[in-house]
């Protein structure tokens, strides 16, 4: 590929996805989709021109390249000469059973099994919805720096949502699993157990009390706290936001930003995890990046463009939702390293507060550091013991303060549920994990005063 711009890149994506949904006892639909196309980026100085097309013929690509080049206000005419025919896609993702080689009836059977296991369990569950999904994403990336590479990313997922009904109304419970693997996911995962977990969550909440309101200690269970770090500081450590001073963590490299027992890592190389890939969507290899080490901010996350500006290498965090999107700095699998505390002692040591077993989504304003995250399974802690389940709600805190307020970390590390991280309208799959931990003070947004 050549171009009049100072940098040119072609990103070709071919994604096939399958989903199957069972709801209200019926297999409602099987959905197959195919999205295939190319995104062409031309960077001239600080200006990026971008065009995408679903037309992968030479003339279609040429037209898109011209559009991108003229958008970048590059002076000379773009010339695209890409020969991708002899390039072999490295067999990178570790796949045993390709989902496309599994019959649709086998996929549907998983849904029926999950549904029946809940309906046969004699629980006060009134509704079950189950979803199976797989995606097969093949990438080819070439750029004017001579890069020619590719990846094949296969993800499989399964989720169940239940509604339970009691005297005090309806409650919901959800459980999901998702890994960057093929259909072998279902050798290791029993979908009936996934379904029963979702059901138990809904049923438990039938006896829930309104969440308390105000500041108190919050203990987060193993695997449950990833969203907290994703929002409290993950986004704030993305170099594009740092560069625009739109993060409270700008200019804090080398400084103590968290309690001394906090080590936070973003790692796209974790085999099988939901945010796993061999190369990012700019062709750079996935990395393990230590963001905070023993409380000290060691590095931010970088994509090609931000790294180039700072004369360093990308950290493998340039990602995009599809060929229709420009890449930007994104997290992969973000986790808090295990500490040496005992999870039971952390709870016993908490006189009054809440214990969050499962977090929902979250949102952050990186410029102020204020963030919220939801709790979808949580309990009161009274006199060092788990007490009544509490109703759904949000917690709110300020990232830099929360990092300093972490006063206990246990050794029981676990990865959490698969997530989709949204930024600027683009969603990408991300993983997270934490051991049991305690924040000595967070604001719980309940209604009980």
């Amino acid at each position: 590929m050549k171009s009049g711009g100072s940098f040119a890149e072609i990103f070709i994506e071919d994604r096939r996805s399958t989903s199957a949904v069972l709801d209200d006892g019926l297999v409602e639909e099987l959905n197959n989709g195919r999205d295939r196309g190319a995104g062409i980026r031309v960077v001239s100085g600080e200006t990026t021109g971008f065009a995408h097309t679903a037309d992968l013929s030479a003339s279609g690509l040429h037209k898109a390249a011209e559009a991108a080049s003229s958008a970048a206000r590059s002076n000379s005419e773009a010339v695209v000469e890409v020969d991708l025919s002899n390039e072999s896609i490295p067999n990178i993702s570790e796949i045993e059973i390709f989902p496309k080689e599994v019959s649709k009836s086998e996929k549907v059977a998983l849904l029926k099994s999950a549904d029946e296991s809940v309906r046969d369990a004699g629980l006060p569950v009134t509704q079950v919805a189950a979803r199976y999904g797989d995606s097969h994403r093949v990438l080819q990336i070439a750029n004017s720096e001579g890069l020619l590479t590719g990846d094949r990313q296969i993800r499989s997922s399964f989720s169940v949502s239940c509604v339970a009904a009691g005297d005090a109304g309806m409650q919901t419970g959800r459980e999901s699993v998702g890994r960057t693997v093929g259909f072998e996911l279902f050798k290791d995962t029993n979908v009936d157990e996934v379904a029963l977990k979702a059901a138990a969550r809904a049923v438990t909440k039938l006896d829930s009390v309104p969440a308390p309101s105000g500041e108190m200690p919050v203990v987060v269970g193993p695997g449950g706290g990833g969203v907290l770090f994703h929002e409290a500081c993950g986004h704030g450590l993305e170099a594009d936001l740092i560069e625009k001073s739109a993060s409270v963590f700008a200019g804090k490299q080398g400084e103590m930003v968290a309690a001394p027992n906090v080590t936070l890592i973003d790692d796209g190389t974790m085999v099988g995890e939901w945010g796993r890939f061999a190369i990012d969507d700019e062709g750079n290899p996935a990395h393990q990046n230590v963001l905070i080490e023993d409380g000290v901010l060691t590095d931010y996350m970088w994509d090609w463009q931000r790294a180039r500006k700072h004369g360093r290498l990308s950290s493998g965090n340039g990602r995009r939702q599809s060929y229709r999107h420009l890449p930007m700095v994104r997290m992969t699998n973000t986790f808090l390293a295990a500490g040496d505390g005992d999870p039971q002692e952390i709870i016993e040591d908490t006189e009054y507060g809440i214990y969050v077993a499962q977090l929902g989504g979250g949102q952050v304003n990186t410029a102020t550091g204020d963030f919220v995250f939801g709790m979808t399974e949580a309990y009161l802690i009274e006199n060092g013991k788990l007490a009544a389940p509490i109703r759904d709600g949000n917690l709110i805190g300020n990232g830099p303060q929360v990092l300093l307020d972490i006063d206990a970390i246990a050794g029981d590390f676990a990865m959490g549920s698969p997530g989709t991280c949204g930024k600027d309208g683009q969603g990408v799959p991300v993983g997270d994990g934490t051991p049991t931990l305690r924040v000595k003070r967070l604001t719980v947004g309940g209604t009980a005063t």
């Binding site: 995408h52 410029a367 939801g374 005063t449």
Partner: protein, 447 residues
């Protein structure tokens, strides 16, 4: 292009066999996005996207497939995938495509050629001018996180083997800016926008001053203490809550046992001052549309009148299952089967100016932004708590800024606790309009 899209949809449905129903939804979008940063173009994206979704129903079994291209060999593959998928679905006697129901669609003027005819340089100028103006509004504005101009021309067509034919073309453009304000080492952010069908409707100065106001008003903000008190939602916030309320009034939620308003038809579910209407035929709504996601005419649906629950929203499937008729409320993209949902929802405005409503309040909070709606609202149980920012109301006047707190209640209780709806009504870039709304009692969780 519209005629071409309907021709593609008709071509696919013409391949239907006599014992099956086939629906094809075809879309085409043309977009421009310009981002400015520090006086330069940060990025300029020009793009066209197409897509087709095909639904096949045979023996009550439904299958679906889609592709992000309109190449003819792909069309055949999509149809055959959808057919194959149908064979794995459970039979459902209520499955079926829309059929012409005799309801005439309104004629809406939602396309303007201005987006197409405006030169790229002028679009760039919008983004640059927006950044420049926002920076100049206030000396405390320390930077601009993003300043962008976007426009889109969307066309779509639906054809079915059951006789549905519809096509539409609409244009839209938007200015959006995120400003950073800084004072005494503290940073706050605020956004401003302007939206229209035609670029000449865009108001750069308003977008700039709104962003500046939103960012600077939060400087020096503190965390309130936890208490129950009167809360006023500004239009931006009330519009977001209306979307959640609207989602609970879908017949799909009702029929599948997920609506907290099931079995409540004819009952009082809200304060008597609440009348809630979903009206995608209203040209003032940016989401106004002549036909719904199944090709039926949209219509004005009164959901709640003077506090009384009047109806639920239906698509074809829910209407069949409930022995009712579609309310023209199917919503979807080419990559999904039709769901049911609101399209342009609003409250009937009250008689008093927002300022007068605030003047009545001795101690309260005006909520100007909420965060975490997706994680903090459970539309099935009705529980909600969201992050919030706003201004203290003391003795009838707006005073100091507040942040890092949540507001919480249940959807059921909040609807009954509404004591006033202002005379204002503002259509926003979402499927709802906002009005100033006073709620007698919400729980504020803070320090």
């Amino acid at each position: 292009m519209s005629t071409e899209l309907i021709e593609i949809a008709e071509l696919v449905t013409s391949w239907s066999a006599s014992d099956e129903q086939v629906e094809a939804v075809v879309t085409s979008d043309r977009e421009t996005e310009v981002r400015a940063y520090e006086g330069e173009i940060e990025s300029l994206t020009v793009a066209e996207s197409q897509g087709i979704g095909v639904r096949v129903i045979k023996d009550g079994r439904q299958g679906f497939a889609y592709a992000g291209t309109l190449e003819e060999n792909e069309l055949l593959e999509v149809l055959s995938e959808a057919r194959d998928n149908a064979s794995f679905a459970s039979p459902d006697e209520f499955s079926g495509l829309a059929e012409p129901d005799g309801v005439e669609s309104v004629s809406l003027d939602v396309y303007s050629d201005g987006v197409n005819s405006l030169a790229t340089n002028k679009k760039i100028d919008y983004a640059l001018e927006l950044e420049k103006l926002t920076l100049a509004t206030d000396k405390r504005i320390s930077g601009i996180e993003s300043s962008e101009y976007t426009d889109v021309v969307s066309e779509s067509a639906i054809a079915t083997s059951t006789g549905i034919r519809s096509s539409s073309k609409e244009s839209g453009c938007c200015l959006m800016v995120y400003a950073l304000a800084e004072e005494k080492g503290e940073t706050q952010t605020g956004f401003g926008f302007s939206i229209g069908r035609n670029p000449d409707e865009l108001d750069v100065a308003k977008a700039a001053s709104d962003a500046s106001d939103r960012a600077t008003r939060m400087l020096g903000s503190t965390k309130p203490k936890s208490e129950r008190l009167t809360v006023v939602l500004d239009p931006w916030v009330s519009a977001q809550f209306l979307q959640i309320v609207g989602s609970t009034l879908s017949a799909e939620m009702v029929l599948k046992g997920r609506s907290l308003f099931a079995d409540r038809l004819g009952e009082t579910v809200a304060s008597p001052i609440i009348s809630l209407v979903d009206d995608p035929t209203n040209p003032q709504a940016f989401t106004a549309t002549e036909t719904d996601g199944e090709g039926l005419a949209t219509r004005r649906n009164v959901l709640i009148e003077n506090g009384e629950l009047k109806m639920f929203l239906h698509n074809v499937w829910t209407a069949r299952k409930a022995a009712s008729t579609s309310t023209g409320s199917a919503i979807r993209s080419y990559a999904s089967t039709p769901g049911v949902g609101i399209q342009a929802i609003s409250l009937k405005p009250g008689g008093r100016d927002p300022i007068d409503l605030i003047a009545d309040i001795d101690n309260g909070i005006l909520i100007q932004s909420v965060t975490g709606l997706h994680s903090g609202v459970n539309p099935i149980s009705g529980d909600f708590s969201t992050g919030a920012e706003g201004l203290r109301i003391s003795n009838g006047e707006l005073s100091e800024p507040l942040r890092e707190f949540t507001i919480g209640s249940t959807i059921q209780k909040m609807l009954k606790d509404v004591s006033e709806v202002g005379s204002d009504l503002e259509w926003l870039p979402m499927s709802s309009a906002g009005s100033t709304v006073v709620i007698n009692e919400l729980t504020v969780s803070g320090a």
